[in-house]
């Protein structure tokens, strides 16, 4: 069966994927959120307020930029960059957090919690909370705090409390566990601002819808600037929010090929990558049925990625649905390819991409080389790389003060 855009259904299913596997304590808040979101989605004043914020606060629409020197360097198709890195706070994450902040205000909750991996969602949540006067607590794994220090400091400057998470692998997955536990106790006064298209229904739908502004703009910009739709779109996939928002408005355009790039890490061995759509199997994690890296007992496996934002053993249920329907092709890029792509974009275009987004750049460069110069490839440049400067220096054994 071909993929449809009429998902999820009322129970939060994208085909067989998704659902709501959470403790009873959270079900009421999820039902409340789903109902409030339904009302907001049909409320013109809500949509108008969000559109206004996107325009004057985030700086949307973000440009679609023709990377001519990078394209020439690859010697094939034309590469266009959807510049989500130019958004306020430097990544696509703000598209979602502003929407959820508006929902929080509608629900009358004074407090927001969030998880963060790379810190981009944490900063975007802290920003939206500052903008709307909401109390903000961000859970972040200790390993990620180490490798994404600039974002930790920004969150604190924005008035958020950053709570280090020392359990498990001390990365994004553990931060989600800890945020869920906080929510178990605070659910009546607190909104959990989940940052990706993962988790229990209705989060995968809400986050996709708020991020779909990326794909809608890209579609319009392609028609304006190229006079047609692109041949291929590439985006990185961890939880999968930038890819979800980019792909969704193109699902029905059969002539547009869609490629999701997971973290290939050091290689294909279990524990060396974070690529559940490439190497995992369907299972349950963090409230949803989706592809996941698990052992034969259902225990979540440790994963690895050079980028904190993709260092996650699960992925969004809609990506699992797109994989199984064949609508999106999922592949991966290895750490060394990521660093090479980072350098290529920095030196040929003067743009420092986030290590997460560099996965999409790396794959797009390979795919472009094999295509004709009249073809067009759009890359979702989901975030800027300033946050990664110290980590890249460390990886290369260079000093960073």
């Amino acid at each position: 069966m071909p993929a449809t855009t009429q998902v999820p259904d009322a129970t939060g299913r994208f085909g067989p994927f998704g659902g709501r596997y959470v403790p009873e304590t959270l079900t009421r808040a999820l039902e409340q959120l789903a109902a409030e979101y339904q009302r907001a989605a049909g409320d013109e004043s809500f949509q108008a307020e969000l559109a206004e914020l996107y325009r004057h606060y985030v700086g949307r629409p973000s440009p679609l930029y023709h990377a001519e020197r990078l394209s020439r360097r690859c010697g094939g198709a034309q590469i266009y960059l959807k510049r989500e890195d130019l958004n306020h706070t430097g990544a696509h994450k703000i598209n979602n957090t502003l929407g959820q902040a508006l929902l929080t205000r509608r629900m009358g909750k004074p407090r927001v919690i969030a998880e963060t991996g790379a810190g981009q969602h944490g900063v975007a949540t802290a920003t939206a909370c500052a903008r709307f006067g909401l109390e903000c607590v961000v859970y972040m794994g200790e390993e990620d705090i180490r490798r994404q220090k600039p974002n930790v400091f920004s969150m604190r400057l924005l008035g958020a409390e950053v709570r280090p998470v020392a359990s498990g692998s001390r990365t994004l997955r553990d931060a989600i566990n800890e945020a869920m536990r906080d929510w178990m106790s605070s659910v009546e006064t607190t909104h959990y601002c989940l940052g990706s298209v993962v988790g229990p229904h209705p989060f995968p739908q809400i986050v996709r819808d708020f991020q779909s502004v990326i794909g809608r703009e890209t579609r319009r910009q392609c028609l304006d600037q190229l006079g047609r739709l692109p041949d291929l779109i590439v985006a990185c996939v961890g939880g999968g929010s930038n890819a979800g928002g980019m792909f969704y408005p193109f699902i029905k355009d059969d002539d547009v090929a869609l490629v999701g790039v997971e973290a290939g890490g050091r290689g294909e061995k279990m524990g060396d990558h974070a690529a559940p759509l490439c190497f995992g199997q369907p299972g349950v994690l963090h409230g949803s049925f989706s592809y996941v890296m698990q052992d034969e007992d259902g225990q979540t496996c440790d994963v690895h990625s050079i980028s904190a934002g993709l260092d996650y053993p699960g992925t969004g249920p809609e990506h699992s649905y797109w994989k199984d329907t064949g609508r999106v092709d999922y592949t991966n890029a290895r750490d060394d390819e990521i660093l090479a792509a980072f350098d290529a974009l920095a030196k040929s275009e003067g743009i420092l991409p986030a290590l997460e987004s560099s996965h999409a750049v790396a794959k797009a460069m390979q795919l472009a080389a094999a295509r004709k110069p009249e073809e067009a490839i759009v890359v979702c440049l989901s975030g800027r790389g300033d946050k990664d400067a110290a980590e890249i220096a460390r990886l290369r054994g260079e000093k960073f003060e």
Binding site: Y21, M180, E188, G298, Q299
Partner: protein
């Protein structure tokens, strides 16, 4: 009638309440887990809840999380846990229920998990991350195999929803005392008394209360309105000492603690 139904039937007729301790499988090893369960039952526990360790338990507080982490660090596998139960349950006077994440049940296969657990003498399942809406397929299998599927109701579950959950529950209803995660509390909210009393008027099923219960005064407060009480973190915290102290001493202390709770119950 399942083993759990029979147990509560007897208890109700005798006017008695169940104490149900929780133990994490494989902490610090399965041999000790079996020994703790024997001791708990010998002291008068009516049922035992065995936690199957899981890597990402979102309903659990630090004490139970840490016990899962210790157990998984020793690579305790589901097959070994069920093997241990298979040897233990025939000699045990009390039914065992497993607390197990749906991630594990799904990976094992729903039918396979229920069949293997039943073969090991398990009388019921508590699947804390499987709310009523998602429980259909497992419920069907459990009913066919006469293994109880115990569902949870919380202080913030609306009443109409609580009734729907009660209709789908077998064995007993697990009433969660607090809006939060597992772990010892100094005080428990007094509204529990009213909520559980109401719930017991609506359903013939036994209602057991869990989360936060650790002190004899909690037991005195709650046992008049409930069919049973579940004590988790307070036991697991004591078991955690088995790695550094003589095991016999730890077992004696757990026995004394349970005896104290049982005395408060009567």
């Amino acid at each position: 009638m399942s083993k759990i139904d029979q147990l509560f039937d007897q208890l109700r007729r005798a006017g008695r309440k169940a104490l149900m301790p929780f133990v994490t499988a494989g902490d610090p090893d399965l041999e000790f887990t079996a020994e703790v369960i024997r001791r708990l039952v010998a002291h008068g526990s009516s049922l035992c809840e065995l936690g199957i360790p899981y890597s990402d338990p979102i309903a659990d507080g630090p004490v139970i999380q840490a016990s899962y982490t210790r157990s998984l660090a020793k690579r305790v596998k589901l097959a070994e846990i069920l093997d241990t139960l298979g040897r233990l349950t025939p000699e045990l006077a009390a039914p065992i229920v497993t607390m197990v994440s749906y991630a594990i049940v799904y990976r094992h296969g729903l039918g396979q998990y229920v069949a293997d657990a039943k073969r090991a003498g398990v009388a019921g399942l508590i699947v804390p991350d499987l709310p009523a809406e998602e429980a259909g397929p497992l419920d069907e299998i459990c009913r066919r195999e006469d293994v109880s599927l115990i569902q949870l109701i919380t202080p913030i579950t609306p009443r109409d929803r609580a009734l729907r959950i009660a209709e789908r529950t077998t064995g007993f209803i697990y009433y969660v005392s607090v809006t939060g995660i597992t772990g010892e509390r100094t005080e428990l909210p007094p509204e529990i008394l009213r909520s559980v009393t109401w719930l017991r008027q609506q359903t013939p099923l036994p209602v057991c209360i869990g989360f936060g219960i650790s002190r004899p005064d909690h037991v005195r407060m709650l046992s008049p309105v409930a069919d049973g009480l579940i004590v988790g973190s307070a036991i697991v915290r004591r078991i955690a000492q088995a790695e550094t102290r003589p095991r016999e001493q730890v077992l004696d202390e757990i026995g004394d603690y349970v005896a104290e709770l049982l005395a408060a119950m009567q």
